[in-house]
Amino acid sequence: MKLLIKFVFVLVVLLLANSFVLADDGPTTESYSFWLGGHYTDFTDYSKKVGEYNKGENETLPEFKLNYLSSGPNSILRFLGHYYDNKNAYAKLSSTISNKYKLSVQYRSLLKQEGQDLLTNMEGREYFPETGTQGGKILTHEIQDPNADYNTYRQELLSQFSILLSEKNNVRLNATHRMILKTGTEQKISSDHCFSCHLTSMEGKVNNTQHQFEVGIDADINKFDIGYQFGYRLYDPKNQASMAYYDDAVHPTKGTAGGEFGSRLIYEDVDAEFSVVPKTEKMSHKVKFKRNFGQGYLAGVLGYASVENKFTSLKSNSYSSAFNYATFLDSKTKLIAKVAVSKYDSDSIYIDLPTFREGAADGNSYNFDFTRYSALNRTNANMSAELIKRMNSNLTVAGLVGYNIVNRDDYPIHDDGTSTKKFYAQGKFRYRKNLSLRSSLKVRFEKITDPFISAKGIFEANGTALRPLVPTSNWVFYFQREGLRYQNITTMPTQVFSFNWNMSYNPNMKFSTTFGVKGNFDKNDDLDSLDVKHTSFIPSVSLQYTPDNLFSIQAGYSYNYDKSRLPVTVALMDG
């Protein structure tokens, strides 16, 4: 509601400013329409939740739309508004004055139903066959408000303004402010992991604000279009922190041996915050240029962006560059070439942890401290070239080839990352006969080497023997089972083939029909264990009949078939 009031305020200011500026604009033409309606949903015997974004209200609600246009010799003012209910509304006011000033302000809101997980699957107790009694580990859950109706209300206010500073070089200053306000409630689940595995569900208040400012200047100087843009984003979650109690570390049934169990935990017997979203600040600078050459152009952009987590002071930086060259080789052939390189550099951080079984008499202690290097650190490069040829007035043929490489610096291992390379080729055929028939076919092939992996994510082959921490000891600890997970796993494909065909037939201006089918087949048979395969197939048909401007019938049917064959690894319990 706060944002809606701001929107109405900005709207009034803009309307006043507009009427002031246009006082001498001469005769204006005005046109408007007002639509009044309503909607009603009956939910007898049905749940009130009808989808993520449509909330069922078992009552009649009014709904209206307003459309207004004012046009003068040097100005256009337009307003579009749609009120659905108090959580779902849209309004936009835009104004152009003598091509010098352009301004618009847009408001939109929506309600998203988040639902609640009742955690009913989280309940169980371990069986000890040797004693026949109830045994050790216990899995429980607790729902603090089982009838809670969690939902978030998102409002967005977008204001854009541009002014032509100089007609000579078309120098234009642009400014944009975007504000997103998210309020409401959502489910928060804390998981306690000591004498029992216990989940607690509670209400979390949502109150996030995001501000985005962009200021830029563009100019056309000596056949060069150049521009600079500065961006600033502040994400500020003002949520009240969710708190949970984390149990004292003791034996699951006897309640003894606190020290032994405590050494397995970083914290215990404490009230602590959880699900904390940090405040972040992002700044970006972008320089762009474009140079037209006869029938083509060369365009480029250089960018730098930095985002900082204000809670931990961790920073990520990105440096990017991209260039596009497009030209007509002859009157019927065009070439589009693209090259882009970007580099990401994110801070590392040393994680200092309590020593496991510190000072243990048997010598079995271990220090888990480590430095977290970011998986984001990488260099991306992409290049592609596309040739499009119009064979005749009906047929166009296009071919594209490209190469993409991702060099990860620190994933999965610091200073020994992985490299993924992708070659792709694509062909397109388009046929269009006047307005009555058009058809297109696209086929694409990709060959990928070393796709993204889950490092040491699988027990793929026979395990190696586990060695005690201390050679003289017989103890092998539970966490040492991780040593058996020494194989990498991926579900990413190494080969992709896809096609997309569609055809539209419009025998006259009142009737049109479209048929289409899209298929995607990808696989990875480079794995030692099991081949990965994904198949999707989407045929569709649609019809449209529009006898006049007031009446239109549309009908469509799409079928989506998806099938995946993936490796899944079984559980291994050692203790």
Binding site: T28, E52, Y53, S71, P73, N88, L110, E123, G124, R125, Y127, Q134, I138, L139, S196, C197, H198, R233, Y235, V250, R264, I266, E268, V276, V277, T280, S284, L314, K315, S320, N324, K334, I336, S342, F368, R372, N380, Y411, K428, R430, L435, S454, T491, N502, I538, S540, S542, N549, G556, S558, Y559, S564, L566, P567, V568, T569, V570, A571, L572, M573
Partner: protein, 308 residues
């Protein structure tokens, strides 16, 4: 004879000059067009173009021929091919006709755009003759989905971005006029996602590598059967990279139980309780799957379990 020829040529030259200095119109009035196209001409005064033209002195007299060119041959013959139709991409000059007036930088790259390469014209998406009450873009996203039927199918899935509900538009994410959208900061597309979902960007102390790899590793943005736009339901998606949780192979007791150390924590157990508990939905416990600054509880994982 020579004089006559020269005079004729001179007249022709002057005539051509006069013709070239005139607007596109060759002088056929709207009333003539209305003889056959009355539905269009009647509405024109209430269209965005009609209202705009009537406000501008130099455009006040602009008629159908301002966009459609000379109608003389078309009127004589009745053949639709004998008049410029901006909706017909096969006709010479028709495709870029609108750009002669609409000269914004936004359309600079139109000729090299995917839509232009697909032989689309402005009229494929914009209704020029619609009344001012309706936007000139034919119901926006609905218009895109007319051709992109596979996306329409995805948007009908249980989890989707609210395009069908009218809360978002395709153009919120996609450039349609050949804007050099790929000249953005990030090839993975994540930069675009973070412009609305900023809370997922981090940087976090504890990361989940697929997040840094790109949002599309786990999500399909148009729509999915699984919740939260996930490509597959939990736990299958997680289990395709991670082994099953080792606690899921614990055998449970049959019957009611009470936690001896916290009697209020009670429940009913079966032999497969742990399998059900740990192999249903990983994010019930690993709630901070996009990253966290808070360590999880267990020392041996380095606090990296993304549970807090």
């Amino acid at each position: 004879m020579k004089k006559t020829t020269c005079g004729g040529l001179l007249l022709l030259f002057v005539g051509m000059l006069l013709l070239m200095s005139q607007p596109i119109s060759a002088g056929v009035s709207d009333e003539v067009c209305a003889g056959c196209h009355d539905d269009v001409t009647e509405m024109f005064s209430n269209t965005a173009h009609g209202i705009y033209f009537s406000s501008i002195d130099r455009l006040k007299d602009a008629n159908c021929e301002a966009c459609h060119g000379s109608a003389v041959d078309h009127i004589k013959d009745g053949d639709p091919a004998l008049i410029i139709n901006p909706a017909n991409s096969g006709q010479f000059g028709a495709k870029e006709l609108c750009l002669t007036c609409h000269k914004s930088h936004k359309f600079d790259n139109w000729k090299f755009s995917a839509h232009a390469s697909a032989d689309l014209t402005c009229a494929d998406c914009h209704s020029v003759h619609t009344s001012i009450e309706n936007p000139t873009v034919k119901s926006s996203s609905e218009n895109c989905l007319k051709c992109h039927a596979d996306v329409r199918a995805s948007l009908s899935m249980p989890s989707h971005h609210p395009i069908g509900e009218g809360k978002l538009e395709c153009v919120d994410c996609h450039g349609v006029h050949g804007e050099p959208a790929r000249l953005t900061m990030d090839y993975s597309g994540s930069e675009l996602c973070y412009s609305c979902h900023a809370e997922k960007e981090g940087p976090f102390v504890y990361e989940h590598a697929p997040v840094q790899e790109g949002c599309l590793t786990c999500h399909s943005p148009h729509g999915t059967v699984a919740d939260n736009l996930l490509k597959q339901s939990e736990p299958t998606l997680c289990l395709s990279c991670h082994p099953m949780h080792f606690h899921s192979s614990v055998v449970g007791v049959d019957g009611a139980f009470v936690d001896p150390l916290a009697p209020e924590r009670s429940g009913t157990s079966t032999s497969d309780s742990f399998e059900r508990g740990f192999n249903t939905k990983c994010t019930q416990c690993h709630t901070e799957i996009h990253g966290s600054d808070m360590p999880s509880q267990t020392t041996s994982t380095g606090g990296n379990a993304l549970t807090r």
